[in-house]
Symmetry: C2
Subunit: 488 residues, 2 copies
């Protein structure tokens, strides 16, 4: 089997029995993979940042079915270089400014590799105590860095959990909120529950509402305006809720956002939470992208009022140096989560869980099995230290600011909304500009539409990005516009 020890000598042998976890072969191939990835980073700028392949390209290059015989790692790595890398959009490229970038790091990578090496399935405490305990230690550390009130951390009365993505964090809290409300008003009223966000809220909220069995017609995407920087106002929320209550509906959940996807708008948590409190609703804060910045004292004000919310989440894999996936969720009342998400089949029972002295994270999330995700977050915090992490975020903000100034200096463009974090934006009247730039392979940016305006987003966050890449990106923008005007 496995054939790792010897298939180089006897390539067609099928009766080969080396163990597929043989430590010496693991070491040999492991070192090869590290060099392969280090070379990839070193050569990154040679590749077009946005993949230039056509739909269906890969199936044409690969066999129609799996082979019976083993292939050596050398052949496989050769194929990855030849066939896979051209199909990759290089999220780690310094010229990547699309969506929200993923700020990877050596420490984040190493943490993921270690957790893959241990390969523990940490559904409950006993299945690997270190996986559970490191998670709550790390979540408390991070909670303190963000200046969270004691009510959200384990050393207080709340607690944190690492989910995969914001979608899961929102779904878990929405399910908890739904069940809490239905326990009061009766389960038969599920069709009357109303979910609120703004027209800028991430699509994860609508998706979660659909998965949770709530009615699409009871989903409110409250209108925001450019004149108020696309913030959700407490007044609009209150007006919408009143109409719903008058119509016999039941307000259940609000998702407020710190740093929306389109324009990094910041909803005013304090005033919104006053409204939700009046109606006994759950308020979740999705700070998916922007929360990282709040470890810097000068940005902490963006989460003022956080002590009044029920839960909030942010993606450490977006702008906090871990690799995908790592979404940090804190809740004030872990019992609300576990009430909705607990299961206790006989085959998982054990003395530690029965003692109630331990956390079984399977009851805090959608899935049973879970990876040892805290390892990468812990390595990031320790390898860089708090002060360096702050400075690195500040350097990204500075680069975005620089880009915004460049946009402002060119009267063919207009900044649509003021920059809050590390994303700048620009309005330009020709929609082809973006496609032409991305097709060049020199940069990758994406767009949005707000109040009917087509906006180019420029998000700084890829770890390898330096000032020179921002300057170059602006040159690409200008050259492309010049060419397009010349062609006209």
């Amino acid at each position: 089997m496995g054939s790792l020890g010897s298939h180089y000598e006897e390539e067609n042998s099928s009766s080969n029995t080396a163990n597929p976890l043989n430590p010496e072969e693991f070491r040999r191939q492991g070192h090869m993979i590290i060099d392969f990835i280090a070379d990839y980073y070193q050569n990154m700028e040679k590749y077009p940042v946005l993949s230039q392949v056509q739909p269906g390209y890969l199936a044409k290059l690969l066999p129609k079915s799996a082979l019976n015989i083993p292939e050596p790692i050398e052949t496989i790595l050769h194929d990855i270089q030849q066939y896979i890398i051209p199909g990759i959009t290089h999220w780690e490229s310094p010229n990547y400014f699309a969506y929200f970038p993923t700020s990877s790091s050596i420490a984040g990578f190493l943490g993921e590799v270690l957790s893959t090496g241990f390969n523990v399935v940490g559904f409950n405490w006993i299945s690997s105590p270190a996986a559970t305990e490191l998670e709550f230690v790390t979540m408390d550390w991070l909670g303190q860095m963000l200046g969270l009130p004691q009510s959200f951390i384990f050393s207080g009365v709340g607690g944190g959990v690492i989910q995969g993505t914001t979608c899961e964090a929102i779904l878990c809290t929405l399910v908890a909120a739904r069940d809490q409300m239905l326990a009061k008003v009766g389960r038969e009223n599920i069709g009357k529950l109303v979910i609120y966000g703004s027209d800028q809220t991430h699509c994860a909220l609508l998706k979660a509402a659909k998965v949770a069995g709530l009615e699409c017609k009871n989903f409110r995407a409250i209108k925001t305006m450019r004149s108020t920087a696309f913030q959700l106002s407490a007044e609009s929320l209150r007006t919408t809720i009143r109409l719903d209550v008058e119509a016999g509906l039941i307000p259940a959940f609000l998702c407020a956002t710190i740093g929306t996807t389109s324009t990094t708008a910041v909803d005013p948590i304090r005033s919104l939470s006053e409204v939700t409190k009046e109606y006994g609703m759950w308020i979740h804060v999705d700070a998916g992208y922007a929360r990282s910045a709040c470890i810097c004292p000068e940005y902490r004000h963006f989460i003022d009022g956080v002590e009044n919310v029920n839960s909030f989440s942010f993606n450490a894999h977006k702008w906090f140096f871990t690799t995908l996936d790592c979404c940090c969720l804190w809740v004030k009342d872990p019992g609300a989560l576990t009430k909705s998400l607990s299961t206790s089949p006989e085959y998982l029972k054990n003395n530690a869980s029965d003692s109630k002295q331990v956390v079984d994270y399977k009851d805090w999330q959608i899935t049973l099995s879970r990876r040892f995700r805290s390892m990468k977050l812990w390595l990031v915090l320790r390898s860089y230290g708090v002060e360096n992490l702050r400075n690195f975020l500040r350097s990204h903000v500075k680069m975005a600011k620089r880009f915004q100034q460049l946009v402002e200096s060119d009267n063919r463009f207009e900044v649509v909304v003021p920059r809050n974090f590390a994303m700048a934006n620009a309005q330009h009247f020709n929609r082809n500009l973006l496609e032409t730039m991305n097709a060049s392979g020199k940069v990758f940016m994406t767009h949005t539409i707000v109040e009917g305006i087509y906006v180019i987003r420029f998000a700084v966050g890829a770890t390898l990005t330096e000032d020179k890449h921002v300057i170059k990106a602006w040159e690409v923008v200008q050259e492309t516009v010049d060419d397009m005007l010349a062609t006209k």
Copy 2:
């Protein structure tokens, strides 16, 4: 920031600016981590397989908050050795026979490491075409290996997707089934939908039903019996459904299982699917653990009738050499999934998606962001080849068979149900036996209760397990029983 280039020289510097993805430093630290993990595998048998720490052990060993200054990787690895490894339950240990083991492999590990290195967020095709295209190529390869009908694979009319875990696969299909049925009967009838499984079905089904907003009182865990090897019979299903229909309820979803968690029971798919067809219900097959075996012709009969079901899933991270997480889900009608799970915000729009020529996997799952999981599955298929994979599974089955024979040869024990795959079981009247064995650190097994009988489960699947470990495990069982009898 990051300080990776130089904090060994200037450990207290905080104004250090080396990039946290510096390729040379990546290479240096990457090699260190590979050696660390190779050493861990080499020393594996020195560690107690079940962690022996007490609740709360870790917080006492670590600082109360994150440090301001960076720490070198050497210090961190030292702490992992000292503080983390003692808290790990060693799923990769050859003496691990608990739950269902995770069969890791070098190829699975390397695939995960590569995907972490690329760190792409493959929510849609354009975000990294190779991530999407390799996924459907690999899922088709695997579909063919399992002898799936064309109706489930992309080269036919269906398709496969890699989810994280069975919980997600069941939730996605349940939501699709729910919405399909509600489209017929009206959304106001959500409280009438009924979900079926057996009393042996994995707890993921009940959890998914709760998340999806279905009523717990409409969840049927149909009784199975030891005399019929804990299979769900078509007769019991039909009887239960009839009563529900008479009571005005609406049968919506059946989850059948190939290889249940407690006893690896196999539900008869063909006869069950005849019943679900009569009632227009969705039938999902959860072959979480056992499906891998079906790549061997001699086990293929376990999924006879699979052409009649709507969807099925199995965990490649359980008994198919990838690392956690990797759950393969095939569906006959991808449209049913995407109808329930699609979102299309402006900021994700792109020409490729608009062309409808590509798959956007975000619409096949709960979350938006997704890792490049097909890489590890592809590496496993290529590195080992089909024939070796079959032989390796057969070697596990043989070891479990051996253990069962040993149990049968000792009249203090009884085999509770015949072995189907690589899990044996034993009844013993003293519940302390298991706890005493596990506390020894020599083996880790878990238990279940079926028909009131306390059963010890012995699951073979950890990649490093060889015949000698099975023999040793049986010696541990016998010695522990002898000691317990002697003490009495």
